[in-house]
Every structure is written in structure tokens, then in C-alpha cells.
Symmetry: C2
Subunit: 435 residues, 2 copies
């Protein structure tokens, strides 16, 4: 039988795009064996032509003009790996409008314009595959969309940002402070020159929005997600957490409450016996609970050239199979036959309840603990553990650590406000949620 050919048009030859180009060029034979057809990188587009020559891509397979891919009737699949939500959106929408299925790793685009992008794909009966948008090389998206298809997903807890997990792991291993470890992470390439987007939790929030869309079939507003980053975590917090049996991780949290969902991103105390507590370094992991499967966890490299290319090319193969087999839309983009474009309504974080870690900084004088305990009691917050350390060097202020039993976020906020207004409290109190 004569071999079919599937032609890929690739946007972006940066870290991930370059890795995808390498994989397609180097593993031609393996991919052909998997597909039963030739898979060809027909054309790549980037503003920087030097990237193409660095990859050994022939001149005629490179362009700086998007239309050369989008309007080429021979291109079967468009791969968008330029990132951002402006040009990337034009490319993705342009490809769909031209009748081409799309592979993208663009979490910001899908989290922000998910309804629009999936809406157009559905209208055109085209596939949009996005395995690499969350968890890098981990086969997470297809596991949730297909592997857990019989389940109602009730919760997800994710370590979704390698930069943050690397920093927290190093702080934990070395007792080092945030700033020192961040600087080291930047030197080693684990953190960007401007790390704000990662360390303040926005990258994690985008990925959480995508997981929530997969879990519910609806679209949350990213701006409504409660987000707190890791820059306020001190070496002290990590030490105190360890002494009470916990490690600190930046977590993405999804809990379903009927038709609503609780979505939040924040540092969290994780029990040291929980499997997520053992996920260290730049790795990612997601703990998913379904009503039939129970708990599963998927772990792997959440970023990086080769791991992310692995996920992108898995998606390309999926889409290529649709051409080879002559059928479209094997599994629906979000695992449901019909698309529901209504927004996912979020439970306000004030209505959520949980356990809390408080680090109070107070004058070292009698009655302080009584004052704090009385205010917590008034808000109905009961104390599980108190850890009070001896006098510090710095001006007689002492840290008091309190771990609470379950209480509402509102009660916690009320107590926090009242406690921080006490004259004996010398610094704003640090609160970390316990999961």
C-alpha cells in the first residue's frame, strides 16, 4: 500500500518548538512506525531565521510569514508554540478557520480564551490538542479526558510550576532563604530573569483553569481564582512546618461543590506522608480524585525542551491518526460530546473552609498567647498545635506557630485582622493553608 503523508506546520522554534522540530526530524522512522504513514515537518515559522538553520531545517521549509502555513492547503496540522495570547490567538483561530486541527502548549491562551478557542474548534468539528499545556511531558490531559472518562472528577491537587517547586525543595533541603535560592535557580535556568509570573502563582493559575475545564467541561474566569505565590515563605516557615509534620508546596487546588467549584493557588502545608510531599525539584505532579477511580497521581517533568516535545508530538500523532484513518474527532476536545460554553461558577474563597498554619510575631511578654487564643476562640477557631520558640535575637520578638482545626476562611480572615491590630503583634502574621 502506498504510504500516506501527514504534513505539520510549526509556529515557534524557541525552547519547546525547537525540541519538537528536533523530535520530528530525528525520530522520523519511529514516528512512521507508530503512525503507519509519513509524518513530516513541512514548514516552520519564526521571526528569528537563525533558529531554523541551527536545527538543520532546510531553507525552503522555513518561513517568517504565518500565511505560508495557515493558507497552505497541504498542511494538515498546525502546531502553535509561540506562547502569549495575542499573535498565538490569531494563529490558533486562523488555523481553525482554515479547517486545520491544532496542537498547542499555550496555557495562557486556553485559560484566558478557552470558551472562544474551544467554541470555534467545536463549531468547525476540529480537534485542538493541548497535552503540553499542563504538566509538560506528563500524559495528564489525555488521562483526564479519556482515561478517567467514566468518572466525575471531584478534586485535583497539583504541583504545576517547576520553578516554585525547585525553590521550595531547595529551601527545605538547605534551610536557605527564598531570595538566595531564587538567585541560584535563575543561574541554573530553573527560573526566568523576571520570575514574577511563576513565583506569584499566575502560571499555576492558568494550568489550574485548564484542569478545571477538563474536570467540569466549563470555563472558569482566571481573574476569579484566588492566587498567592511563594515569595512570602520564609526558611522559618519551612522549619516550623517540618516540626509539625508537614512540607510546604505551591498547590493548585480544585474541589467540586455540586455545580460550583473551588479554585485556588497558594502555598500549602502538605502532610509529609502524602505522596505530593515527596515530589521535589523541578518536577510536577497532580493528584486527581474521581468518584470511581479513587485517587491517582501522575508525576514527571513539568517543563523542559525534550519532555514538552514528547507531549506535543503525542498530540500530533493523535491528530495525524485522524487523517490516516479517515475520521475526525475521535475523542472530543474536552471529553464531552457537546460543548457547554457557560462559565464555571466559583465558590468564593471566603466560603471555603480548611485548616491553617499561623506564624505570629509578637513581643516576648506574658499574656500574648492568651490574647491570640482568645481572638481565635471568639471566631470559633480551635487550636490543634502550638509551637512557641525561645527568645530571638532580633529585638525581643518571638514567633508563635499555631495550627488550627478546620475553620472557615472568613473566620480566619476576621481573626487575622483583629490579631494583627494588637499592639503586642510586631509584624503582619503569616498564614499558610493546610491541605
Amino acid at each position: 500500500m502506498s504510504k500516506q503523508t501527514v504534513k505539520v506546520g510549526l509556529f515557534g522554534l524557541g525552547t519547546v518548538g525547537g525540541g519538537v522540530a528536533e523530535l520530528l526530524l530525528q525520530e522520523e522512522k519511529r514516528l512512521q512506525e507508530a503512525l503507519g504513514a509519513e509524518l513530516v515537518l513541512a514548514k516552520a515559522c519564526d521571526l528569528d531565521a537563525s533558529l531554523a538553520s541551527g536545527l538543520g531545517l532546510p531553507k525552503e521549509r522555513f518561513t517568517t510569514n504565518a500565511a505560508d502555513i495557515l493558507h497552505d492547503p497541504e498542511i494538515d496540522i498546525v502546531v502553535e508554540l509561540i506562547g502569549g495570547t495575542k499573535v498565538a490567538k490569531d494563529i490558533v483561530m486562523g488555523a481553525l478557520n482554515a479547517g486545520k486541527p491544532v496542537v498547542t502548549a499555550n496555557k495562557a491562551l486556553l485559560a484566558t480564551f478557552g470558551a472562544e478557542v474551544f467554541g470555534l474548534a467545536s463549531q468547525k468539528s476540529l480537534k485542538i490538542a493541548f497535552e503540553a499545556s499542563v504538566g509538560g511531558g506528563i500524559p495528564l490531559i489525555r488521562s483526564m479526558r479519556e482515561g478517567l472518562a467514566a468518572n466525575r472528577i471531584t478534586s485535583c491537587l497539583g504541583i504545576l510550576n517547576g520553578t516554585c517547586n525547585y525553590i521550595l525543595s531547595r529551601m527545605s533541603a538547605e534551610g536557605a532563604d527564598f531570595d538566595a535560592v531564587l538567585k541560584e535557580a535563575q543561574t541554573l535556568g530553573y527560573a526566568e530573569a523576571d520570575p514574577t509570573f511563576d513565583i506569584e502563582g499566575m502560571d499555576t493559575a492558568h494550568k489550574l483553569a485548564i484542569l478545571a475545564t477538563l474536570a467540569t467541561g466549563r470555563f472558569p474566569q482566571v481573574k476569579d481564582i484566588a492566587v498567592e505565590g511563594i515569595s512570602g515563605i520564609s526558611a522559618q516557615d519551612i522549619t516550623f512546618a517540618r516540626e509539625t509534620g508537614f512540607v510546604i508546596k505551591l498547590l493548585a487546588v480544585f474541589h467540586r461543590h455540586g455545580e460550583h467549584a473551588e479554585l485556588r493557588v497558594h502555598p500549602a502545608l502538605v502532610d509529609r506522608n502524602h505522596l505530593l510531599a515527596s515530589v521535589n525539584g523541578p518536577f510536577n505532579a497532580v493528584f486527581v480524585s474521581g468518584d470511581w477511580v479513587g485517587d491517582i497521581m501522575l508525576y514527571g517533568a513539568g517543563a523542559g525542551r525534550r519532555a514538552t516535545a514528547s507531549a506535543v508530538v503525542a498530540d500530533i500523532l493523535d491528530l495525524a491518526r485522524e487523517k490516516v484513518n479517515g475520521c475526525r474527532f475521535t475523542a472530543p476536545n474536552l471529553g464531552r460530546a457537546a460543548l457547554n460554553l457557560s462559565p464555571l461558577e466559583l465558590t468564593p474563597i471566603a466560603q471555603v473552609s480548611g485548616r491553617y498554619y499561623f506564624r505570629f510575631t509578637a513581643k516576648d511578654q506574658p499574656g500574648v498567647l492568651a490574647t491570640i487564643a482568645a481572638i481565635l476562640g471568639k471566631q470559633g477557631i480551635s487550636i490543634e498545635t502550638v509551637l512557641q520558640k525561645g527568645r530571638q535575637e532580633t529585638g525581643g520578638a518571638v514567633p508563635i506557630i499555631i495550627l488550627t482545626h478546620e475553620a472557615s476562611e472568613q473566620a480566619m480572615q476576621n481573626a487575622l485582622k483583629e490579631i494583627d491590630a494588637q499592639p503586642v503583634i510586631t509584624e503582619p502574621t503569616k498564614v499558610i493553608r493546610v491541605v
Copy 2:
């Protein structure tokens, strides 16, 4: 548009089959939303009619005659959950011969008759889905087949038997002996009345054979896999392992060596910082390495009614989509377009090298350690750690623990033979491999 209907014929209403029937009956609406068509349990077959009534399955949807499903032209998908390799094989081959795609959880069948079963499925261009055959509810098979499709899988390390992992975890947590924990596991339903198949490693070997087939596209002979169970592990071994920084797990090991593969099942010392060391209780986990993705790990319930049903119904949905979308064979059964029926050649375990834990039991007299060390040295085995404990109560025999550096299995076997022949050695030496 008028709704299509996909009809399922189910063999076996035991633990897993009953769970699948429940899922199909209880989650009808959810499955219809996923599929965009009705998914109906049209007929179930079991020798025990009381199982059907217990599930509330109407009488007309139950039969004790296999032909009522296999020869019903209205049945679209056959699900085989009776286990074993005799009747189950007839059913699977019969379904394929009747042109029906098959879902099965039958690891013994696929491990033993894989070439025959996949060969017939390929010849008939039919899908055979087997997510539940390894790792219960964990979406492992589709992750390897599709999610890692761009990779050459270089190794897998798996905790694949919940009974063994439960027993080893309890022994580790409580310092209890094997026999006591096994008895408890039987009472709690974590171990069978005859636990031989689980605790002697055969169940794990079947699952390993399936993973090796997915990783290489070829078929190992199960009888050639080196298999050792956990019944020889003592509370002492677990304690000594902990003191040297390890935990003991029953592992399935796959390593690729060019076109050959190393396949073995045995208790192993796992570094306590490895993620697999934190997998406790009846859970399963598989650590997979690919040349692009790096290391990933998948974790979850490896058995149980609901978790396994989740995996089986995910497969049913996949196959049902092929009918709904009007196309066959979306992803090939083993991830490769062409089936290679040649056997997977195994590297003999004598050629494998690794590190070893030895527990010698010797008379408490001068010169014993020198004797052992000399024999190890003669075989080129160098010692990493020695742990010698004080005199024991039982007749003056003392345990001597030695952890070695990397050495060949052959050298280890030679040394073992010579050491056990020494008059100062009072009991056969226990060897555990280190991974």
C-alpha cells in the same frame, strides 16, 4: 439528531464485572454526555444467575450462554472479565472472529497468549483494549501507548501487586513478620485465601510481560522471566534495609538493552528518597523512563471493584467512539501501525548486573567477616556497607548485612554458593537486589 446506541455484551459479573455493570447502569447519563450516544449494557453472561439479580439487571438482559452475546449481531463491543486463560480465551477469540472489538482486564491471557490474541485482532482490524489489565484504575496503558508514543521506552519499574505492597508496607510500619501480616491481609480481603499467585510474583510477572510488549511491540515468554516472591522477606530484612536508607518493595523491572530486554520480578531495596518508596498500602505505581520524556510515574489503586471498573469503562468509551464516529482503529492496539509477532528476546538474568544486599547468618566467632569478604573479593564484588549486629538469642548465630557495589548476577551467584558452603554459615544467605 437521532441518538445512536452502542450495545455492550459483558462476560463475568464477579468483583470487576459487577462493578462495570454498576457503572454502566448507574452513570448512564454521564456516559451518554461523554459519548454523544447511548451506551447500553445489552446483555451480561455469567454461570451464576444470582449475580445478575443482585445488580438489578433485568432477566432478559442476562444469559448463561456465551453464544447469546457472541452471535448477537446487535452487540457492538464484547467485555471479557471472567479471567483465566481457557474459557476467557475462547470468548475473546470468538468475539474477534465474530467481528466485535474486545475490552479485557485479563492479564494472564494477554501475557500468555498475547501474540495469538493481538495477531487475530490485527488480522481482523479490530481493537482490543486492556487498560484494566495492569495497574487497575491507573490510566497506564493509554499513557504508554499514546501519551508516550514519541518515545523509546528505556525502562519501567513497577509496584504492580497490591497484595504484596500491602504486606510489605505493614511489615515495614509495624516490624511485623510476613506470616502474621499475610493472615491479617487475608482477613481484610487484601489477599486471597490461596495467595501464592500474588505473593510468589506470578501476577506481577504477567503484568510486566504486558508492559514489555507495550514498550517494545514484541512478546516475551512469561516462563523466561526471572521471578522471586516476597515470602522469604523477614522483619529483620526490612529493619536492616531501613538502617541503610532503603525500603523493600516487590518490583517488576524492565530495562531495554538494544533489541533485547531485561525482565525480572523480585523484592528490591529502593532508596527511601525514590518516589516509589513512598507508595504504600494496596496501591500500585509505575515509574517509566523514555528517551524524550525522561521519568514519569503513575500511581493509583491497582485493584478493587470501582477503580478497575473505571478503567474498563474508559476502554468501552474508546471503542464506542469508533462506532459513533464511523471509523475503526484510532490508535493501534500496541501503539504501532504494524504488528511484529516475533518474540521479545530476554537478556538472561546471569548477564545482568546490579547492587546486592546480603544477609548472612553465621556463627558468632572471629574471622567470619574476613572469610565472607575474601570470597566476595575473589568474585570481584566490592563492599559498600557492612552492618554487623551484636549476639542474638538463638544459639549464637549473628546476622551480617553487606551492601555491595555494582557486580554481575553471575559473580553474586558464585559468591553465594561458596559462602553458603562455609561451616561458619548456619543458614542459607538471603540476597535482595538493589535498584
